[in-house]
């Protein structure tokens, strides 16, 4: 809501300056977003008197003028035809930016200095005259900003009005708040009408077919008006509120709406068939041409204003092209009505048509203000366009608004707010807001809000009004007494936070990407038609196709992030994301939301150049997988050859599925280079994915402490030559499966290939550690056990010792 400060001041007596008013309004809930001068460009334009005019020595058409601002004299070059000595004209000083875009600078024009620019009225956007310098009255004060000198200095306040405060969408509405703040009262405009026209009943008729959607419809008719341009004062006020002036009749409807908050509509009386109005719903599919020249297709709940033949306006939203005011109009029917907020909003939404009028009806107008606004409009139209106002008015009001009286319990309100206000203080605040307040015998208050406050229907609404005007800052602070509550720890979240810290410790950087992605980004991963990853939750109204489906995988966003960084010369990337994926669930409205973890490594093993001679490889990403599994204390894990159908985007020769028991919990390995290319990545990408939900549910118990060993361990090695395809883990699994009680642990210490060993072969070195918790083992004893294990192993795998 934009309005001029001077306009506001015409309704309420206040001394305070615009900035102060703005602060006070903000602190009662009407947030003032800006306070700007009405004519910012006039701040550096001053009236000056031309004291001398000489020809420019080097230019025939230019004059050298000496001008005075009352204290000093300076030279300005001017080419206007009406320049002469003795006149007072506006001078734009250097630094001024004129509304037409010209930037005034101190200049040297053909060798002569010019300290600014003398202006026409048009150049200052104050008059339409561009023929020459704007000659100002002789009596004007020289040297001060022109807006002050002309007495048109003003400020524009822009208020962000919350949806509950429809009553503040007018200058008088704001004036009421100002009056309440300062404890003064509003000067409402005087409305007095001379009714010289025929009785209204004899010339027009209104019927409401749907009183639910239109509880009140009032009208007046004016004959013999003359359509012309509105006077300056009204055009100026409209312009200050950002409304374009059109003609006197239309301008009045807009002016009264801005002044009183009641949207009005003016019909050309002679274009209303049968001179009657019927308020009723459209038929679905009906077409209607609105005054903006657009054809609209209506719905069966669109409320229409119709004449004896057809629709002439969409109720409360916009008039029709064919029934509006134009230069031929001589007789006007003014509509002032109260349309139901929900009906107006539904229609406005369905038609995607929001207007100043619909905006106000949606937020609730003053049902008792309908007549005042109608009379005010008739008064102003006669004032501006002449003519005769009909005798009386039509006021179809099938469902009169009932003011409601609400009891305010003083103690309850104080307890609710934490204040200690007296009954009188509360009564005073509410009275200032134009509420009718009566003291009850029990000390509470019976409060009747004014009809323009449609938002006040409950006791708590009054409590808020008390708090608002009393000032939130005047409510004391009091710390709540907290009860000891048995809070169940949110382990799922705690472990997520701990995991993030753990990954940070592993040298990984967290990223957060959008939950919605492009469907094509998922298809780039190479899923077969019908794969469940392609079944996504789709947005009905995405911002773009790029962000149109909820992701079923974290992979695309990770790859896009890698590409984004690689393109910016960040070549050593160690990233992770722990976020939700969204899987549609048959028979449920809401999808399954699961947290997934993704880790990706690209580039060198160490970011410092000096130490970065090695690229990351499978061992790095697998090491992170192993670390995460031990973080969750999950055992019973196997790394199995990748299922290519499940995971088409990984390179099957360098990737594995991670299985715990029967459950697939993740995958690790190298991204398929073809997929990488589709994301514009040329470097190898090592990637790890885990289903966090499974990690969480499979997490192991907190381990018990084990005593430290008292006796020394003895180690023995086996180096076994096997085929290249042999998985090294099998050796460990076999050794563990033997169940030797003195065997403490087994670890691979070497994987070795050479020509001596032979093509397609490798040697695996296993180191076995033996220990007894009861005594020191002897060499002989260990040798015997170890030889047994070696023998079994060679036999089982058909392998040779190296």
């Amino acid at each position: 809501m934009r309005f001029s400060f001077k306009w506001l001041k015409s309704y309420v007596e206040i001394e305070a300056n615009p900035k102060e008013i703005a602060d006070r309004l903000t602190m009662v809930g009407l947030e003032v977003e800006s306070v700007e001068p009405r004519y910012p460009h006039l701040k550096r334009v001053i009236p000056v008197k031309i004291t001398r005019v000489n020809r420019h020595p080097k230019a025939d058409r230019l004059m050298l003028c000496n001008v005075t601002d009352g204290t000093s004299t300076f030279q300005v070059v001017c080419g206007a035809p009406n320049v002469r000595e003795g006149i007072v004209v506006p001078l734009a000083l250097p630094g001024t930016e004129l509304p037409n875009g010209i930037k005034v600078e101190e200049a040297i024009i053909r060798g002569e200095g010019s300290k600014g620019m003398l202006c026409s009225g048009k150049e200052l956007a104050l008059t339409d005259d561009a023929s020459g310098l704007w000659i100002l009255p002789e009596t004007i004060t020289l040297g001060i900003p022109l807006d002050e000198a002309l007495g048109i200095d003003d400020f524009i306040l822009d208020i962000s009005v919350t949806p509950n405060r429809g009553d503040c969408l007018s200058v008088i509405g704001i004036a009421r708040e100002v009056a309440a703040i300062y404890g003064t009262s509003v000067r409402y405009p005087d409305i007095s009408l001379v009714e010289e026209g025929p009785p209204i009943e004899s010339i027009a008729r209104v019927d409401i077919e749907d009183p639910q959607k239109c509880p009140r419809y009032a009208a007046r008719v004016i004959f013999d008006v003359e359509i012309r341009e509105s006077p300056e004062w009204i055009r100026n006020r409209l312009e200050s509120a950002g409304v374009r002036a059109i003609n006197n009749i239309v301008d009045v409807t807009n002016y009264v709406m801005l002044e009183m908050g009641q949207p009005l509509h003016a019909f050309d009386y002679d274009r209303l068939a049968d001179h009657r109005i019927i308020v009723k719903c459209a038929k679905a599919g009906d077409r209607f041409l609105t005054l903006d020249g657009q054809e609209r297709i209506l719905f069966d709940d669109s409320l229409m204003i119709c004449d004896g033949r057809e629709a002439v306006a969409i109720a409360g939203i916009m008039g029709g092209e064919l029934s509006g005011i134009d230069f031929r109009t001589t007789r006007v029917l003014i509509e002032s009505a109260w349309f139901d907020p929900i009906t107006t909003r539904r229609t406005s939404k369905k038609l995607r048509l929001t207007t100043e009028s619909s905006y106000r009806f949606e937020r609730g107008i003053d049902p008792e203000g309908v007549i005042r606004a109608l009379d005010r409009a008739a008064q102003l139209m006669k004032e501006l366009g002449g003519g005769k106002i009909s005798k009386g008015r039509i006021d179809v009001y099938p469902r009169p608004y009932q003011r409601k009286t609400i009891r305010l319990r003083v103690d309850r309100a104080n307890k609710y707010l934490g204040t200690n206000l007296s009954t009188e203080e509360m009564a005073s605040i509410l009275s200032r807001l134009e509420m009718k307040v009566e003291r009850r015998e029990d000390g509470d208050l019976d409060v009747t809000p004014p009809s323009f406050r449609q938002d006040l229907t409950r006791e708590v609404d009054l409590t808020e009004e008390v708090a608002r005007i009393h000032g939130y800052d005047n409510v004391p602070l009091e710390r709540p007494r907290v009860l000891m509550v048995d809070i169940e720890p949110n382990e799922h979240l705690q472990l997520r936070d701990a995991l993030k810290e753990f990954l940070r410790g592993l040298g990984l950087r967290e990223i957060i990407t959008y939950s919605f992605i492009s469907p094509s980004a998922i298809s780039k991963l190479g899923f077969q038609d019908g794969d469940e990853k392609l079944r996504t939750v789709r947005l009905l109204n995405p911002l773009s196709e790029e962000q149109s489906v909820m992701r079923t995988s974290l992979v695309p966003s990770m790859l896009e992030t890698l590409a984004f960084n690689l393109n910016r010369q960040s070549n050593c990337l160690r990233l992770f994301e722990l976020s939700k994926i969204f899987i549609p669930k048959e028979g449920f409205l809401l999808p399954q939301e699961d947290f997934h973890l993704i880790v990706a490594l690209v580039g060198k093993r160490h970011p410092k150049l000096l130490y970065s001679d090695e690229d990351v490889d499978y061992s790095d990403i697998k090491g992170i997988a192993d670390a995460i599994l031990s973080f969750f204390r999950i055992t019973n894990i196997s790394f199995q050859p990748l299922d290519k159908f499940e995971t088409p985007y990984m390179d099957p020769a360098s990737s594995a599925d991670i299985i715990c028991g029967e459950s697939h919990i993740g995958r690790v390995g190298k991204l398929d280079i073809r997929v990488a290319e589709r994301f514009d990545i040329k470097e190898p990408v090592w990637m790890l994915e885990f289903d966090y939900e499974k990690l969480f549910s499979l997490r192991g118990p907190i381990p018990k402490f084990r005593s430290l060993p008292k006796y020394p361990s003895v180690v023995r090695d086996i180096a076994m030559v096997v085929d290249e395809s042999f998985q090294v883990q099998r050796g460990i699994d076999f050794i563990n499966s033997i169940g030797e009680t003195l065997l403490e642990s087994v670890e691979i210490f070497d994987i070795f290939r050479s020509s001596q060993i032979g093509e397609g072969k490798k040697s695996i070195g296993y180191r076995l550690t033996y220990r007894s918790s009861e005594r020191s083992l002897t060499d002989e004893e260990v040798n015997r056990i170890h030889e047994g294990i070696v023998k079994q192993m060679l036999e089982y795998f058909g392998a040779k010792l190296r």
């Binding site: 949806p163 939404k349 707010l417 934490g418 808020e464 960040s570 992770f576 130490y611």
Partner: protein
């Protein structure tokens, strides 16, 4: 009688030892070998001591004295040779270049949004709030209806909503968690709920996904002054006790009275700058007393219980905390941005 070492012979051994030690220079290993050669179990001087038993008793004290002297001399010489050698090693040219870059263990980082969320959650947890979460794809009912925002209400314009279907939306705020929790439990309730939220808006100051933290305290006689105290404490913990704040009336359909909380601009200290649009104040959270209509929806009696709720945008707080001037940086995930929060 066997020949027994005489003074000359002893001196010879000692001199030989001293010479060899001299020549050993800074070779610690050689010095140790010389110690073995002369003073070891089978060392030259040790062997001379074995002759003591063979000399006549009258010569014995004299010989003993000579041998003790010889041993002490050699021991001292070994001691000083060792010191000299160590000294020489330390001062030799074989020092490392102390300016060689360290092999820094690779250090990761948490996203600034995560860091601020954790900080906010920690502050409220310390005040006794419990952390809960809710779905991001949410029923229209919980996102709006249960919060007193019926369909066809202009308040729906306050949030541009992504729809999945007529009845399903991407949550536009973390507030639906309030309704879900209250539906399940009885007061007293003290919760804090962080999470992702979505609005159909993208420009310099809006991203279609962002993060919020919601808070709710419901119990007997919870008042607006409690709300003020809790949020004041929060602001002081988050931004420092010197930061001023104000509570400004506003409107949210699910609270009444409603209040926006502004803090003194952290950039200019309240004197006015670009960040605060020259107002000196920055809006950081919305709050209010839970509207009775919300209590009625979840089956609480508003005469029996009261409460307050609040919500704040995490990116906004992160931007203020680190003076970040572009919201979009949060979701580009440029590592040059992320590494600044290591």
């Amino acid at each position: 009688m066997e020949q027994v070492a005489d003074r000359r012979e002893i001196e010879q051994v000692v001199n030989e030892a001293l010479r060899e030690l001299e020549e050993a220079k800074k070779d610690l290993k050689l010095i140790d070998a010389l110690r073995v050669k002369y003073l070891g179990r089978k060392g030259l001087i040790t062997n001379l001591f074995k002759q003591l038993g063979k000399v006549s008793p009258e010569k014995r004290p004299e010989l003993g004295r000579l041998l003790n002297e010889a041993r002490d001399t050699v021991e001292r010489a070994i001691g000083s040779a060792t010191e000299r050698a160590k000294e020489a090693i330390l001062t030799s040219k074989e020092t490392i270049d102390v300016t060689t870059p360290g092999r820094i263990p690779i250090i990761g980082s948490l996203h600034p949004v995560t860091q601020v969320t954790q900080e906010i959650v920690r502050i409220f947890s310390q005040m006794g709030f419990e952390v809960v979460e809710g779905p991001e794809v949410e029923l229209d009912y919980y996102n709006f209806e249960a919060l007193n925002i019926p369909k066809d209400h202009p308040a729906r314009d306050m949030q541009d909503t992504f729809y999945i279907s007529e009845d399903v939306v991407l949550r536009t705020h973390t507030s639906p968690i309030q309704a879900r929790i209250m539906e399940k439990r009885r007061p007293p309730i003290q919760i804090i709920a962080p999470g992702k939220t979505y609005r159909c808006d993208s420009d310099m100051t809006h991203t279609p996904m962002f993060h919020q933290v919601e808070g709710l305290m419901v119990g007997k006689d919870i008042s607006f002054s409690h709300l003020k105290a809790v949020l004041t404490l929060f602001v002081h913990r988050m931004f420092g006790p010197q930061v001023g704040l104000r509570f400004r009336p506003s409107f949210f359909p699910f609270t009444e009275p409603s209040a926006e909380v502004d803090i003194q601009c952290v950039m200019c200290g309240g004197s006015g700058c670009k960040v605060c649009s020259y107002t000196g104040w920055l809006e950081i959270l919305g709050s209010g007393m839970v509207d009775p209509a919300v209590f009625e929806k979840v089956g609480y009696d508003p005469e029996e219980v009261t409460g307050f709720a609040f919500g704040m945008g995490i990116e906004r707080i992160a931007m203020l905390k680190w003076s970040i001037d572009d919201l979009r940086l949060f979701f580009e995930n440029d590592v040059r941005f992320l590494e600044q929060f290591t």
